[in-house]
Symmetry: C2
Subunit: 402 residues, 2 copies
């Protein structure tokens, strides 16, 4: 079976797709029976030199030309939000399946696009939009589908994980680690979307939507980035066996939900603590499975293309029943879930210790000079009492601790 492909976009991921298909063509054909012919590529500048071989491919900057062509599948890797959504929607309305890697667009428009796909008996695939090469989307849809999922939690942004790894391993300040990430091309000149957790929030939304079968909006994801992280806290906590990670967290709290991106400490022996530099990982808790984790590359040309092309193959060989679009909006839980905390104060160690003891909170002083503490699980109300009393220099949850 041969499929005619329109590739929309020819940046890092688009080039990876072209190169991957050329390189693994025989393998894909022999294992799945599918051949792909990229007939059209949409670019903004047709005169630009490409890092992938586009001979025998019609390279155009005119989307109308592609929309009028006879294609079997559209693959969108160009980015953009509202106008890109409209383009994708028009393909779906014609019954043409679409593969997209565009998390920025999906975080806003996925419900509308899946609705359109369902109405037109076709499908939208987006494996590459979350955690790059890690197959977490298909896995949630097809492998963990016998489970009620209670929590999805992951390292969903390679840039911030690289920065936190540099700080932890080399003792660098945040600013230096960021500059290094920019120098090697992991971070953008304007790093806001990464370091403030916006990119991870988009992926958290997409995971939560699948895991809980509810609609969510981006403003429901609480954001705490890493730009305020002090190397001092990373080092104090390291001596207590803790590693700081920026985690996207989506949890079901009895039918209401907590969606957040925030720096959280994990035990150094925890699987997530050993996800270093630009790697990503996603933890899933299911009521039958218990805990499972999926680890791999979160970005990269070929790595992301691996996910895009798996979607392309599946769109050709799997005839799945139409998926249900979530019927209901997910409601946020009002109260913070109980959690253990790492806390550091710009206060006298003695004063803080006395106050914590008066609150009946079990705690442990991490450093004899610094007023840094590790507490056991406490309620959001108790945390608020502490914050009302003292200037808190740092407060991070500790994952999984009692």
């Amino acid at each position: 079976m041969n499929k005619k492909i329109a590739l929309l976009g020819m940046g890092t991921v688009g080039s990876g797709v072209v190169n991957l298909i050329r390189e693994n063509e025989d393998l894909i054909h022999s294992s799945s029976g599918v051949g792909f012919t990229i007939t059209h590529v949409l670019v903004t500048d047709t005169t630009k030199t490409r890092t992938a071989d586009v001979s025998n491919i019609r390279v155009t900057d005119d989307i109308t030309e592609i929309e009028n062509a006879d294609i079997d599948l559209a693959v969108e890797v160009m980015g953009g939000i509202d106008s890109t959504k409209e383009i994708i929607k028009r393909f779906l309305q014609k019954g043409i399946p679409v593969v997209t890697a565009n998390k920025d667009m999906l975080a806003v428009h996925i419900d509308e696009l899946e609705q359109t796909a369902a109405e037109n008996n076709t499908a939208l695939y987006y494996e590459a939009a979350v955690a790059g090469g890690i197959p977490i989307i298909h896995t949630l849809q097809h492998s963990l589908n016998a489970n009620k999922i209670s929590k999805v939690m992951g390292i969903l942004n390679g840039t911030t994980n690289y920065i936190l790894s540099k700080m932890a391993f080399d003792g660098w300040e945040y600013d230096d680690a960021l500059k290094d990430a920019q120098a090697i091309g992991y971070a953008e000149a304007d790093p806001t979307a990464d370091v403030e957790g916006i990119d991870a929030a988009r992926k958290t939304l997409l995971l939560a939507r699948l895991a809980f079968d509810k609609k969510f909006t981006l403003d429901q994801v609480k954001l705490n980035g890493i730009s305020g992280v002090d190397i001092k806290d990373i080092e104090l906590a390291k001596s207590a066996g803790l590693t700081l990670k920026l985690l996207g967290v989506a949890e079901d709290l009895q039918g209401k939900y907590n969606l957040a991106v925030e720096p959280i400490f994990v035990e150094t022996t925890h699987q997530l603590a050993n996800v270093h530099y630009e790697k990503n990982a996603v933890f899933v808790n299911g009521n039958m499975l218990g805990e499972a984790m999926f680890y791999g590359p979160g970005a990269g040309s070929y790595e992301t293309a691996s996910a895009v092309v798996s979607d392309m193959i599946n769109s050709a060989v799997i005839t799945a029943e139409a998926k249900n679009v979530p019927a209901e909006n997910g409601e946020l839980a009002e109260e913070l879930a109980d959690s253990a905390y790492y806390l550091r104060f710009n206060e006298s160690l003695h004063d803080v210790q006395s106050f914590l003891a008066s609150l009946d909170v079990q705690f442990e002083n991490i450093d004899t000079e610094e007023a840094a503490f590790r507490t056991v699980k406490m309620s959001g109300a108790v945390l608020q009492q502490i914050k009302d009393k003292f200037a808190v220099a740092a407060a991070y949850k500790i994952n999984g601790a009692e």
Copy 2:
């Protein structure tokens, strides 16, 4: 859509399947549109009390009765090899798909059964046969399908991982750790299949077959179990930052293959080193993806049922093209791949050091009293020279080291 199920077997996994379907029935129906009605259960003793509710299910010890019944899907969780294969084959010949968790049977008969399935336009599903609840089979088939896989390596047996974890964490001798594993029900009274690596070898074969699209036989998997592991080596290597794991390894060495189950040291910071006790994990190297890892429960009633039921759902909602049965037999590589090693000798430290130096092998003495060494990568031929010269008390590969 409602599917009528015959469940063959009602042990730990079978009970888990019945309980899972009862507990998550609504969730499965709302997310996938599928309902399952277990119409028949095959048991050996119809008078036995069950740990799952079998009301409204026909419980029989007569397979012929089930074969004559009107069912949509057979789910085999009863074990047995040749006779069970014949039963499964008869369902496939009638065009009825089969889900099986039976690795012992598949390791011998999978080629014949997949051939039968393909000829009858139906399918065989076996997610639960490898690494319990971890969805590695479906992932290799549907998510890493754009990759040429060069290596699959994993902790595929929870019993031996539990024993090695007990030895590493608590400093126990092998015999004591084995007795503990037997006492809590992880190890059988006769632990041979687990501790000698036979169980892991079956799973390694199934992974290799999928990863490389070649047929293999069990006798092609080199076996080295853990019954000979000395706590001394675990402790000496721990001080050098190494953790011993029983790994199933399948690697492509330029079109020939190495299939083995053996204890291998991994760096303590490696993902696999932090897979503790009864947990399983599978590493995959793909030419586009690079490294990915899949971690989770390797056994358990509900955990394994999670995989079985995902197959059941997929058999109902996915209409995939018929899979190709591998056309060729996989040939074993003749030479050992180069590897770094941990070596310990019952010899004078000085004698061994002089000899290793004369071989132009880079090495490091791990302990000033014991003749225990960590070498850099060397060929199988050099290892043989060393073994010819000295009595080697322990020799384990070190994963990934240069």
